[in-house]
Amino acid sequence: MDIFLQQLLNGLILGCLYALVALGYTMVYGILELINFAHGEVVMVGAMIAVTVLTSVAGSGLPVPLAILIALAAAATVCVLAALLIERVAYRPLRRAPRLAPLITAIGASIVLQNLAMIIWGRQYLAFPAVLELKVYEWMGATVTNVQMLIVVTAASAMAGLLLLVNRTRLGRAMRATAQNQEVAGLMGVDVNRVIAVTFAVGAALAAVAGLLISAYYGIAHYAMGFILGLKAFTAAVLGGIGNIAGAVLGGLLLGVLESLGAGYIGDLTGGFLGSHYQDIFAFFILILVLVFRPSGLLGERTPERA
């Protein structure tokens, strides 16, 4: 029982990371009804850029927080540019096309990004430079590190910032209007193209943050890390209710906890028949259950109205 708290904590940390990435999926789906498969790869790009920049800046004697901020700024810039480019080139021309076309284009964009990363950075794993001194704290029998606390704080503030943006600003109102009904919003004076571009940009910025945090937490980054992460984050978004921002957060946290507890206890639960290497299956098993029994997700979906 003493490890239950630790498993829960591990799950929450994992959940925060999933939530950050799920937000990008949910926002784009809410407006365009498009599953942006390339989003997982944008996270990967963020991680690779952050690691590369940090590796070159780390030795130069700058204070560590500044170095990390520089790496984050660089990663965010590249991610936003990549997302805007993909939106402009791959998705905008297909806005009036049947739903299948942008879906396949999204998969294509994901493959292109992955292979570009493989060509640029090679196939080996990049190591996150040792700039963060690891401090481990004991709390009620479980261990927490400063990196894990940083993840929670960063994820919480990013999500709070996003909720503020969407609910309390003019731009946020325009985003909600576009999500509800694109044509009418356009008639009301909203620049729909700009709003969609901003949505992609915000998602990409969050992806850059997630990429930096993930590579800091696991210590490595590589060109194939975005694929499975993207699938799981998308599962989290569906779990919470696609298009629903609070749903993405809830879905992410829940998925992280379920995966962690599942991997930890499945050996005991099934008497050794299923082992902990089935950890990845949990995400997809939950996706199937959700889609069968509650397709609109836990908090209900928010997709464009079809009048």
């Binding site: 003493d2 490890i3 630790q6 498993q7 591990n10 799950g11 940390i13 994992l14 493989m118 090679g122 196939r123 080996q124 794993y125 190591a127 040792a130 690891l134 481990v136 004991e138 261990t143 590190t145 990196v147 894990q148 696991y218 210590g219 490595i220 590589h222 194939a224 890390m225 499975i228 995966e259 962690s260 507890l261 599942g262 991997a263 930890g264 206890y265 050996g267 082992g275 902990s276 290497h277 950890q279 990845d280």
Partner: protein, 374 residues
């Protein structure tokens, strides 16, 4: 007209005579993916051997030949391994050096056995590879029953409570099965066994479960892209157990990925440390000039190629029917030490060395088996 015609015929005929017969040798390893650095290590070792042999102007049964290396990528995946194996057979390879992963070598070995060509693996250590009854499977590393025994006995020596993790591949699972046998035989207790995959990076769940069992030692059967984050996560979770791993972890890439947390980790590797290998120093110099840093397997791949081609030279032919019997009784003092095969194709008296990371470098601490005085 006659003179022109005969001159032309003579020219064409002499060109045909000058052109060497080309003998194709296949080399398969993961050239993409997380283990690409190890696969490239193998390809480079093979290439160095082929280049050096070609430079000497080799002959098979009096005919000058040129050896050509066909390098293929199996992505460490069993399915891809069979596909590229068939591709090599179809392109006329007369012998194959490969694969790296036992999970790839074992399914591919059936393809090579059906085609009747020899397969010399520089790195596959799963016991099953040479126990399938094929006359074509050979390896240049001590197999996992020897490696697992060495690891398990060492683990039992330094702690009474041993936890094990494997990555469910043929290699990882096979190695840990042997470790478990050796640990139990030595009287220590296996307190927990957890599993992961060869693509995972998050081990916090299984490490937390094992932390609850309070082990003194944790033995991991798998490769360095998993071992490095695992060691790191052990540090963050406060799991204070001595970390042991197999040859898949004992590389310079592991040191790079795990950083300071690698300190004190123990890894085993079949074969002698390269500084203690009879041909080690000279080989390292030639390899560094041509390709750069050695990971683990380059000297084994080099010797594997030498063995394969050496058997062909002894038989005077690249025809598998003729050189396979020569390969079975082949003896050589290679870079890695004395090479001879037993009746299954395993290396005779293969040694296993245990290394520890001290001050950021792998330092050999113990050698088990091998020829006396090596």
């Amino acid at each position: 007209m006659h003179r022109l015609a005969s001159a032309l015929i003579l020219a064409v005929a002499s060109m045909a005579a000058i052109a060497d017969e080309v003998v194709k040798i296949g080399c398969v390893a993961p050239l993409t993916g997380p283990q690409a650095h190890l696969g490239k290590d193998i390809e480079n070792g093979c290439r160095l051997a082929v280049e050096e042999i070609n430079a000497r102007g080799p002959q098979l049964g009096g005919t000058p030949v040129k050896f050509e290396l066909l390098a293929e990528d199996d992505q460490a995946d069993p399915k891809t391994a069979t596909v590229v194996g068939q591709k090599l057979v179809d392109s006329g390879a007369r012998g194959v050096v490969g694969h790296l992963n036992s999970g790839a070598s074992i399914p591919a070995s059936r393809i090579y056995a059906d085609a009747g060509i020899a397969q010399v693996s520089p790195a596959s250590t799963a016991v099953a590879y040479t126990h399938q009854g094929f006359k074509t499977t050979y390896r240049l590393m001590a197999n996992d029953s020897q490696q697992g025994k060495a690891l398990g006995q060492y683990a039992a020596k330094i702690g009474k409570r041993v936890a094990v993790v494997d990555d469910r591949t043929a290699y990882g699972q096979g190695l840990i099965d042997e470790v478990v046998k050796a640990v139990k035989a030595a009287g220590a207790e296996i307190v927990g066994r957890e599993f992961t995959t060869d693509k995972s990076t998050d081990f916090t769940a299984i490490l937390t479960t094992l932390k609850g069992k309070r082990p003194d030692v944790l033995v991991f059967g798998g490769m360095d892209p998993q071992a490095a984050p695992m060691v790191r996560q052990m540090g963050t979770l406060g799991l204070k157990a001595q970390f042991l791993g197999g040859d898949g972890m004992q590389s310079s890439e592991f040191l790079k990925l795990a950083g300071t947390l690698a300190e004190g980790v123990i890894g085993s590797s079949p074969g002698l440390p390269i500084e203690q290998m009879p041909g080690g120093e000279a080989f390292t110099k030639r390899y560094n000039e041509r390709f750069g840093k050695i990971q683990i397997y380059a000297p084994f791949a080099y010797d594997a190629t030498q063995v394969l081609i050496g058997a062909m030279v002894n038989a005077g032919s690249a025809d598998p029917a003729k050189y396979l019997p020569e390969l079975a009784k082949f003896r050589m003092d290679g870079v890695i030490g004395p090479i001879a095969f037993d009746e299954r194709g395993d290396l005779k008296d293969g040694p296993v060395t245990l290394y520890q990371v001290q001050q950021g470098r792998w330092v050999p601490i113990e050698t088990v088996g091998g020829q006396p005085g090596s």
